[in-house]
């Protein structure tokens, strides 16, 4: 009897001890160490990638490529920017970047006076190198070190050639561009028109509109009224493709039309996957990001001075709807 009582008491005691120690271990184990203060950050080059179109798949991929390359090169890089082409915010970020004295700015080019003044005067004043990526602004106007991205003129040519291959050498083509023409859009348009003007049977109707959805719809409506027998549509600004297609779809079926655009729009990939776009210029955003960081680092380390003025071109290819299906 006494033995049993002792055994029971012992078991209770051991159990209580076990749980107490378990609990004490949990309560007193301090794995919540504060993050260590990093002394190594000092020597790293600080780069900033600034875009107007955060959270679009195109720019996400650029960012990814850039971050990966930055890690390889031992630089610290942050992706800043504005959403939905908010220029004011975008310019502010650039100014902050300059005032924060980063070592290099990789920026989506913006063909505006404010942008040019920031890059040309302020960045130069602080001696901060600027590399444009994806969208270029001419060297003379922005004092950029170099440009990394697609050859937009070649992209325009490619899309025009595809159009001719698909449509034939005669037809009406509607071109939709931005009222506020940026340099890269001008180049695309030039590329398209340079090809198409060789074919006298192809008539082009070019209209410029503001980038808002309502305006795009209105302009598309107007164009289709004016050119009822249009065979093909090209959205030079990829962001207009969705609204344009929406308007076309409202009037008739989309299939008979040849619709082309670029991949740097908000909805480009979705539209292409849905088959609404017949062709789309695919650029290489990861490559752009990686290459821009790489070149910036080369310049900062003094390995390649100066950088190629005309820019470093990345691959482009024509993606046809057939491929997707």
């Amino acid at each position: 009897m006494r033995k049993i009582v002792l055994a029971v008491l012992g078991i209770i005691c051991l159990t209580l001890c076990y749980f107490t120690f378990l609990s004490a271990d949990k309560a007193f184990r301090s794995d919540w160490q504060l993050p260590q203060t990093a002394a190594s950050g000092q020597t790293q080059h600080r780069l900033v990638l600034i875009t107007q179109e955060l959270d679009t798949s195109f720019w996400d991929r650029v960012g990814q490529g850039a971050l990966e390359q930055a890690r390889k090169d031992g630089a610290s890089l942050e992706v800043w920017g504005s959403y939905g082409r908010n220029q004011e915010e975008f310019l502010k970020k650039i100014e902050i970047a300059i005032d924060s004295k980063v070592d290099g700015i990789i920026v989506q080019g913006l063909d505006s006076e404010a942008f040019k003044s920031l890059t040309k005067i302020k960045a130069a004043f602080y001696g901060i190198p600027i590399v444009t990526v994806a969208n270029d602004v001419p060297m003379a106007e922005s004092l950029r070190r170099t440009y990394v991205g697609s050859d937009q003129y070649a992209a325009g040519q490619m899309i025009a050639k595809q159009l001719i291959a698909d449509m034939g050498q005669a037809g009406n083509v509607i071109l939709l561009g931005d009222t506020y023409q940026e340099y890269y859009q001008k180049q695309r348009l030039a590329g398209i028109q340079d090809v198409l003007q060789d074919y006298p049977d192809i008539r082009t109707a070019y209209e410029e509109t503001e980038a808002t959805r309502e305006q795009v719809i209105a302009t598309t409506k107007d164009l289709m009224n004016r050119v009822p027998d249009a065979d093909a549509f090209i959205a030079v600004n990829a962001n207009m493709a969705e609204a344009m297609l929406h308007e076309i779809g409202r009037r008739s079926r989309i299939e008979p039309y040849h619709v082309y655009s670029f991949d740097d729009g908000r909805d480009s990939e979705t539209l292409f996957a849905q088959g609404k776009l017949d062709g789309m210029i695919e650029q290489s955003p990861e490559q752009m990001g990686a290459l821009s960081v790489n070149l910036m680092m080369q310049w900062l380390r003094g390995e390649t001075v100066p950088l190629e003025m005309d820019g470093y071109l990345t691959e482009i290819r024509m993606a046809k709807a057939m491929d997707a299906r």
């Binding site: 005691c13 007193f28 993050p35 942050e78």
Partner: protein, 489 residues
């Protein structure tokens, strides 16, 4: 040893105190640690906020100075510059892997703000108002950026430390749980320990109580045993000693009571014998006078033998009356015995033959009165009277080392073993015909009481080979009480 229970209580108290102190210290330490962490975190936010405040302060003072360039305003501006640089240095401490980039930018922004402010001041001093205003605008913008960046940084902080904060919350929950477990454990341990501890005090007390109960019931032979090392065991030892003492005292009292009893019996025997002798001495003086007259008359009438015999009878009678309760010398006893033999000789003439062998040096020893006469009488009654031929009686007194041996032997028919036994065991075997009324067994009793020895008298006999009574009288008496006891009357 003498404060062992106190020591035990102190030990218990010390253990409880120790446990409580340990828990208290652990909790305090833990609390302090948590507090420090909270302070660190708060400090971070406060420092960042400080930068914002300082930058805004700087813009305000710059504006004031540009509007009214007085030395006082310049001092204020310098002060705010100092404060923002100080804030910047403090912010530098907050660097970690996650916010290194943003923090460097942040600090550079502060530098830019200071530089822009300086530029504005230089333009102001060179009277280039427009450039100065432009610089001021830029400074204002930078200040705004600083504010925004502060928010971004705090946001980053929150994200970085999210796990950390959750850890703190988690741990405070764990601490509560620990508290409950600890309470249970301590309660249990204390309960067990207290039970054991109180048992170690109460168990000896209980044993002692039981021992006391046994003693109170009169059982003095059970040993009091208590296994402990405190005052109780001391108490128990003392108690046990007391028990042994009481036990000894009781047995002593019992011995004394027995002795008293024996004395009482002795007294009764004396009274009995005296009563008997009194019955037979109705008027001793008359008897003595008559006997004297008779003796003289017999002498005058020429019967000398008769006269002597009457004198002997008178002497015997006197001795019998006087000496019964006194110790006398052996000499007196022998004398009385001779007188008795003389009287009996007149009766039995040649049939009674007495052979005496006496060592005279032994006659001074003390002996109870009337001890030899009854034994000799007994021999006469049993060995001489019934025989036609008569009988021989031998009386011997011999010196020994520390005892004197008195032998009275006859050649009569002897006694049976049972008879001897009953005499030696002092059973009153009344046989009439004794002249003094004192029987054999009375003599045996008195002898034993007088000397306090059992082996003072022995009888050797067998049927047909006579009887031999042997008395071994010590030269010095063992017990004095015999003399005094009758005096108490």
């Amino acid at each position: 040893m003498n404060n062992s229970i106190q020591k035990k209580i102190w030990t218990l108290a010390a253990i409880v105190l120790f446990i409580m102190a340990t828990i208290w210290i652990a909790l305090t330490y833990y609390n302090q640690k948590t507090q420090d962490r909270y302070n660190d975190i708060l400090q971070r936010y406060l420092r960042m906020n400080e930068v914002t405040a300082a930058s805004q302060q700087m813009i305000t003072s710059l504006n004031n100075y540009l509007l009214k360039p007085s030395p006082a305003n310049l001092t204020i501006l310098d002060e705010s510059r100092e404060s923002i640089l100080r804030a910047k240095n403090e912010v530098y401490m907050l660097r970690n892997a996650d916010n290194a980039f943003a923090l460097t930018s942040y600090m550079n922004l502060i530098d830019s703000l200071v530089e822009t402010t300086d530029r504005s001041l230089i333009f102001q001093s060179e009277k280039e108002t427009e450039a100065s205003t432009q610089a001021f605008d830029e400074a204002t913008r930078i200040s705004k950026y600083i504010s925004e960046m502060t928010l971004t940084l705090i946001d980053t902080e929150l994200r970085t430390y999210d796990r950390f904060y959750r850890g703190i919350i988690e741990q405070s929950k764990e601490l509560k749980e620990l508290g409950i477990w600890l309470l249970l454990l301590i309660t249990f341990l204390l309960a067990v320990f207290t039970y054991w501890f109180s048992l170690s005090i109460t168990r000896p007390v209980l044993k002692l109580t039981q021992a006391a109960k046994e003693l109170s019931r009169g059982r003095f032979d059970l040993e009091v045993e208590v296994e402990s090392n405190d005052e109780i065991s001391f108490l128990a030892k003392m108690f046990d000693r007391m028990r042994i003492n009481i036990n000894n005292l009781i047995s002593e009292i019992q011995q004394k009571a027995q002795l008293e009893n024996e004395l009482q019996q002795n007294k009764l025997l004396l009274q009995e014998s005296q009563l008997r002798s009194l019955q037979s001495q109705i008027n001793p003086h008359f008897l003595f006078n008559t006997l004297d007259t008779l003796s003289k008359k017999a002498y005058l009438e020429g019967a000398e033998e008769t006269s002597d015999m009457i004198v002997s009878v008178a002497g015997l009678l006197r001795y019998n009356l006087k000496r019964l309760d006194r110790s006398v010398t052996l000499y007196d006893e022998v004398k009385v015995m001779r007188q008795y033999i003389d009287i009996q000789k007149a009766r039995f003439t040649e049939r009674l033959r007495l052979h005496m062998d006496i060592d005279d040096s032994c006659l001074h020893v003390q002996i109870p009165g009337l001890t030899l006469q009854p034994i000799v009488e007994n021999a006469v009654i049993h060995a001489v009277e019934p025989e036609e031929e008569g009988g021989n009686i031998w009386f011997r007194v011999m010196d020994g080392e520390d005892r004197i041996t008195i032998e009275i032997e006859d050649d009569g028919p002897g006694m049976t073993e049972e008879k001897i036994q009953s005499i030696l065991e002092e059973h009153a075997v009344e046989s009439g015909g004794h002249s003094t009324g004192i029987g054999f067994s009375n003599v045996v009793k008195r002898l034993r009481l007088f000397y306090g020895l059992e082996d003072v008298i022995d009888i050797e006999s067998g049927s047909g080979r006579g009887t031999k009574v042997i008395m071994k009288i010590p030269k010095t008496r063992g017990i004095e009480s015999y003399d005094k006891a009758p005096d108490r009357r």
